[in-house]
């Protein structure tokens, strides 16, 4: 006797906003009637914070991980103990998406030290000899569009040996001039990051040019705060010794889940940066960093 428990949301993309209603059906499929001791649904939104081992001692990181922050939580009983008939049974449900108290529903975000996740879980308790059934599904929350209009502010940049900081021996550097611009650093999260880059001259052949998307996560606690930057993705925009003088497009799509509008709260912060990384053939590595401000419109 096999029973399958499934959760189906009405929206194919599983994206919801605060104030909307999360609707869907619990689907139970079984050949024969199923005896159970109650079916319940739990909806929960959590922010999980974790301190990196770099910021504090290793043991501390394990034990003192910051307590999760609950943004929303709701539980309903779908069916009282009884029997579900054989075949396919669909039980519709609805949850209003309203934050607890004066909290707000942050946008779904999967990071390393900060995780904002919304889940829906269905449990079917069953009599002694049968295993309880459970099914979890994640749904996405997008925060409300920001009202203020985003003004694109283009950023021009020029990279030469002279503009570099953090250089040990400036004399051993090959000569190069690389110019470019980003169309904006305050980006709309659904739009790609765009711009152009021109290698005007370079003594040494270029091996690769990459865009590195970085998240900067800050977790605050009583003792202070920990700030960590980690790579989200790395997108190569040029490979090999590119033609000098020809503009190369800068183009990067912000990955879903792994990015969210720049977020600043009392306990934690999520920010983003992009690095333009130029690798020369002699393995010189040149990076140019741009903090980004992401928003949703």
């Amino acid at each position: 006797m096999s029973v399958a428990l499934d959760l189906r949301l009405k929206r194919a993309n599983k994206v919801y906003h605060e104030g909307e209603v999360l609707a869907g059906v619990v689907v139970i499929t079984s050949k024969e009637a199923v005896q159970h001791q109650g079916i319940s649904l739990t909806m929960e939104g959590l922010v999980n914070l974790q301190l990196s081992s770099k910021s504090v001692g290793v043991f501390e990181a394990f034990y003192n991980s910051v307590k999760p922050i609950q943004l929303i939580s709701s539980n309903i009983e779908v069916a009282k103990p009884g029997k579900v008939p054989g075949g396919k049974t669909e039980i519709p449900f609805e949850f209003p998406l309203q934050a607890k108290g004066n909290k707000m529903l942050y946008e779904t975000y999967h990071g390393v030290f900060v995780n904002i996740q919304y889940t829906l879980r269905c449990d079917m308790r069953r009599p002694l000899l049968a295993k309880d059934l459970s099914k979890t599904c994640e749904f996405m929350l997008h925060c409300q569009p920001q009202k203020s209009k985003v003004q694109p502010t283009p950023v021009d940049f020029t990279i030469t040996p002279e503009t570099l900081q953090n250089v040990k021996e400036r004399t051993s550097l090959p000569k190069f001039v690389i110019r470019g611009h980003l169309d904006a650093t305050n980006c709309v999260i659904t739009q790609p990051l765009t711009g152009e880059l021109v290698v005007e001259s370079s003594e040494v052949a270029i091996k690769s040019i990459e865009l590195q998307l970085v998240r900067v996560e800050t977790c605050g606690c009583a003792e202070g705060y920990a700030r960590d930057a980690t790579e989200i993705q790395n997108i190569q925009i040029a490979e090999g010794d590119v033609c000098h003088g020809l503009p190369i497009p800068i183009y990067m799509v912000f990955p879903r889940l792994f990015t969210c509008p720049t977020l600043e709260t009392t306990n934690f912060k999520v920010e983003f940066e992009v690095n333009v990384v130029i690798v020369l053939h002699d393995d010189h590595l040149i990076t140019e960093n741009f903090p980004l401000k992401l928003c949703r419109v």
Binding site: Q233, I235, Q236, C243, V277, D283
Partner: protein, 928 residues
């Protein structure tokens, strides 16, 4: 705001954690490249493996499969891309065959024991990381692969892609495709790159199709959506899936895989929004600028153009943009990075440049397709401005409309002359120009200067192979516009170049093509053979099989285009030589079909030979031909027919009465046939020809010759086997034999008896042979012959015969109705009827009753038609036969009824009134 770090030796320490993959992957990649180049250079001295190079790219099955696949795809867009656009499928075979290598290759392979998600890390690991995982880890490098192995590996990847897809492992499928397209960034064995491109883009095409079809099928839940669907028809789930694909691809780390894979699923943009394709194409076009290696970049452009033409042929702008970007980065080809690479790989510049041709050809072909002349002119001007533009020039000539090129042919020649000698080979340029001029005509006044200029360069090409490749193309132009004089000169030049060191041996396909082109334009064979160099050119085909092929093609053209019979000695000599070559190729191993087709061609030639009134000349031609073509039986038969025809023609000319001279001539003809026929192996051919020649001899009043023919036929009869093979199957010869004997009997009516032999010598002879012949057991054939001899004997006893031959006295005149002669005939008839009746008696037993009935009925019919039924005995016999045939109820009632009606009708005539008495005695057996 700007914090910039620079580090030597790639150890990347900053405020980022050190586990960043940028650094890791790079050092690994570097190591891999090093090992590849060392392995290829160390193995470059390995002798070329002839087998693997032979096999390369010529797997006909997969070629067909891919071609049909592409063909199907193309059909979908037929409204937009017309049939005049040469499809990619036509190019790919050519590329595979042309760009091969004997160097060792290496491939990085996705190992099959990789687990999509191991239990522990399942929750931690995100899909994105999983993707990286495949890119970086769980790979294994295979070194020292031969080209064929490499092709097999790629095919393996193709298979595992399909498997992964069908087993619903979509992420794995994507990984495989990324893996494949990554191979395109590797130029380590550069000569092979174009072929590698073809193989890998096949996989990408498959992938693109799979994704598109999958999403399409998701939309067709209640009912399939039309091909011309709009975004509104697509449901949310399908859109979400499609979006997912694009997000996944957008996060592919490396440039080249990201570009190729996105291009492969370009068509899927249709599911998301209306403008997706026209926004994506320019973006991808611009993205290619990031590819540093010019060869890799140009092929990426070719792929993008190809996909663009397939999905949205109306978006010309990005095609043009691609071309202009190509021009803008053209100087990269001569950059240091490329030059260093060529030195390491030991590839010469001209060879390297030709690697670009397929891609640039393709891009230009897409650009030029239905483009206005203004645009083409602009493109040409832009190409001109670049230094050392031979490569581009070549592609321009190749890809632009032939009419466009032909109209500016003189300009092009000027440009070709200006090109740098060291770069792209000039003969290839002239080859491309010639190709255009072969399909479109330049202005009339320029034609001769063009030919002169071109040939001046071609004749200087030193390598025979290069020379003939180029010359072959220009032959078409020469044949099209000029006379035999110029073509002769060209042939002389080809002979001059190809003869030293027997260079022609390696150039048979090209030489054959030259021959084909000449034959296409010169149908007048007297002109053709009056070219001094034509036969010497023919002599260059020294390999037997090729030589015969060429001869056959000549003969085919001759038969197709020669309208009137000819006696031109030049043509006859030359063609006799050609036919002899074909004939001499026949040996014991030649298959029947080949013999038949050769014989057909030679027969066609023999039929076209006519010396008009000079009959003797014609006969001597036949004598000569018989000696020449003795191994081909159908030709010998044709010759006998020709000679017989000749004799009849002579008779017609002489109005039926021969002079002494013509009489001697027709006897000579008869003699020719008489001595030729025995050399045939087919017994029925011999029989029929004996009979036919006998008839011809008779018509020409050669009585003794006719006698000899017929006697020969009779004497051959016993040799007829019981079974003969007809179209490969063994069949009884009885029906054929009966046919022949009947036809023979009807001829015998007009053959006068030989004065020295007895009465009805030939008839008796024939019947004796029939008697002695070993017929099949249980066969009525012998009796049937007897029955059919009766009408002949009846006809012979008439006072004047049904038919006679003018100027030949038949037996009617010889015997003048002599009673002895008539009595002789009656006796013969009685014997025959007796034999038939005996046979009928033996059939009465056993299961022969059905046959008995039918035989009896046919004897009855014969008697009715040819016998004198006033004779009581005969009358009684007839009635008995009727009853016999109806006794067992096996006879066809309808025939019986019709026969009775016929008799009734006959009986109306006064001289046949006796039939009405008989009619009363014939009763129809009622079935009840």
């Amino acid at each position: 705001l700007q914090s910039v770090t620079v580090e030597l030796q790639s150890r990347f320490v900053s405020h980022f954690p050190s586990h960043l993959q940028v650094t890791d992957s790079r050092s690994r990649r570097g190591g891999r490249k090093g090992s590849t180049s060392s392995s290829s250079s160390s193995s470059s001295s390995v002798a070329p493996d002839p087998l693997s190079s032979m096999l390369e790219g010529t797997d006909p099955l997969s070629l067909f499969a891919a071609a049909s696949e592409l063909g199907r795809k193309r059909r979908e867009n037929e409204e937009e891309v017309g049939a005049d656009f040469e499809p990619w499928s036509a190019k790919r075979g050519e590329i595979l065959a042309r760009f091969t290598t004997t160097e060792k290759l290496s491939i990085v392979r996705y190992s099959h024991y990789f687990h999509p998600s191991s239990a522990v890390s399942e929750k931690v690991r995100t899909r994105l990381e999983e993707l990286d995982d495949l890119e970086e880890g769980s790979q294994r490098e295979l070194l020292n692969l031969s080209q064929q192995d490499y092709v097999n590996r790629i095919e393996e990847l193709n298979q595992s892609l399909k498997e992964a897809w069908s087993s619903d492992q979509k992420v794995k499928a994507l990984k495989i495709v990324i893996q494949c397209s990554k191979l395109l960034s590797d130029t380590s064995v550069i000569q092979f790159y174009p072929s590698k491109f073809v193989l890998i883009t096949d996989i990408l095409d498959t992938f693109g199709r799979l994704v598109y079809e999958r999403i399409w099928s998701m939309c067709s839940d209640p009912r399939p959506i039309p091909d011309s669907f709009s975004v509104e028809d697509v449901n949310d789930t399908a859109k979400e899936t499609c979006l997912n694909w694009f997000f996944k691809i957008a996060s592919i780390r490396e440039l080249i895989p990201r570009l190729y894979v996105e291009a492969a699923i370009l068509k899927c943009n249709r599911f998301l929004n209306k403008t997706g394709i026209q926004e994506t194409l320019p973006r991808l076009t611009a993205m290619i600028r990031g590819i540093g290696d010019p060869l890799v970049a140009v092929y990426a452009r070719a792929y993008l153009c190809r996909v663009g033409m397939e999905v949205a042929p109306h978006l010309k702008d990005s095609l043009n943009k691609n071309f202009f970007d190509l021009l803008a980065s053209f100087r990269q080809i001569h950059g240091d990075t490329v030059q260093n690479q060529l030195v390491i790989q030991r590839v010469e510049i001209p060879v390297y440049l030709t690697l670009y041709s397929p891609a640039i050809h393709w891009i230009l072909q897409c650009v030029a397709y239905r483009a206005p002349d203004v645009l083409l002119t602009e493109m040409m001007e832009r190409c001109k401005k670049l230094g050392n533009n031979a490569l581009l020039l070549n592609s321009v000539m190749w890809a632009f409309r032939p009419e466009f090129v032909a109209a500016r042919a003189t300009d092009f020649i000027g440009m070709i002359k200006d090109c740098d000698e060291a770069g792209f080979p000039k003969h290839l340029l002239f080859g491309s120009l010639g190709r255009s001029l072969a399909c479109a005509d330049p202005p009339e006044s320029e034609r001769l200067p063009i030919l002169n200029e071109a040939w001046k360069v071609i004749t200087k090409v030193r390598s025979p192979q290069d020379y003939i490749n180029c010359a072959e193309i220009w032959v078409e132009f020469t044949c099209r516009h000029f006379t035999k004089r110029e073509v002769n000169t060209v042939l002389a030049d080809i002979i001059k170049h190809m003869t030293p060191d027997r260079a022609f041996e390696d150039a048979y396909p090209q030489l054959q093509s030259v021959m084909k082109k000449i034959l296409t334009y010169f149908h007048n064979f007297s002109v053709l053979f009056s070219m001094e160099k034509f036969l010497p050119f023919l002599d260059m085909f020294q390999k037997d099989s090729v030589r015969v092929e060429v001869c056959k093609s000549i003969m085919e053209v001759f038969i197709k285009h020669q309208q009137e019979p000819t006696r031109d000695p030049v043509i006859l000599n030359a063609l006799l030589h050609v036919c002899k070559t074909m004939h001499d190729s026949v040996n014991a191993l030649t298959v029947e079909d080949e013999k038949r087709s050769l014989a057909l061609l030679i027969n066609g030639f023999i039929r076209m030979v006519s010396f008009g009134r000079d009959f003797e000349q014609q006969l001597s031609f036949c004598v000569e031909a018989r000696a020449t073509f003795c191994n081909l039986e159908p030709v010998i038969i044709q010759l006998i027919h020709t000679v017989n025809q000749l004799a009849m023609e002579t008779r017609r000319v002489m109005g039926g009465s021969h002079s002494r001279k013509t009489a001697a001539f027709v006897r000579a003809c008869a003699a020719y046939s008489f001595i030729t026929i025995p050399s045939l192996t087919s017994i029925f051919s011999r029989l029929h020809l004996y009979l036919l020649s006998g008839q011809v001899a008779l018509a020409n009043q050669c009585l003794s010759q006719a006698d000899a023919f017929l006697k020969a036929a009779v004497s051959v009869l016993p040799e007829v086997p019981r079974t003969i093979s007809v179209e490969g199957k063994q069949r009884s010869s009885e029906a054929f034999l009966l046919d022949f004997i009947n036809s023979f009997l009807s001829t015998l009516l007009v053959v006068p008896d030989h004065p020295e032999q007895g009465v009805l010598y030939l008839v008796r002879g024939l019947l004796n042979m029939v008697q002695d012949y070993t017929w099949e057991d249980n066969s009525d054939a012998k009796v049937r012959v007897y029955i059919s001899a009766l009408p002949l004997l009846a006809a012979m006893s008439q006072e004047s015969y049904l038919y006679t031959i003018p100027k030949v006295d038949s037996n009617e005149t010889l015997y003048g109705g002599d009673p002895k002669f008539v009595a002789e005939i009656s006796r013969l008839c009685e014997t025959l009827i007796g034999q038939v009746l005996d046979h009928l008696k033996t059939l009465g037993r056993e299961e022969g009753v059905r046959r008995q009935g039918s035989l009896a009925f046919s004897l009855f019919s014969t008697l009715l038609a040819h016998g004198d039924l006033r004779n009581n005995k005969l009358n009684q016999l007839a009635v008995n036969l009727w009853n016999l045939s109806h006794k067992n109820g096996h006879c066809d009632t309808r025939t019986s009824v019709r026969t009775l009606e016929h008799i009734k009708q006959q009986a109306q005539q006064p001289e046949l009134s006796h039939l009405s008495d008989m009619l009363l005695r014939l009763s129809l057996q009622s079935r009840a």
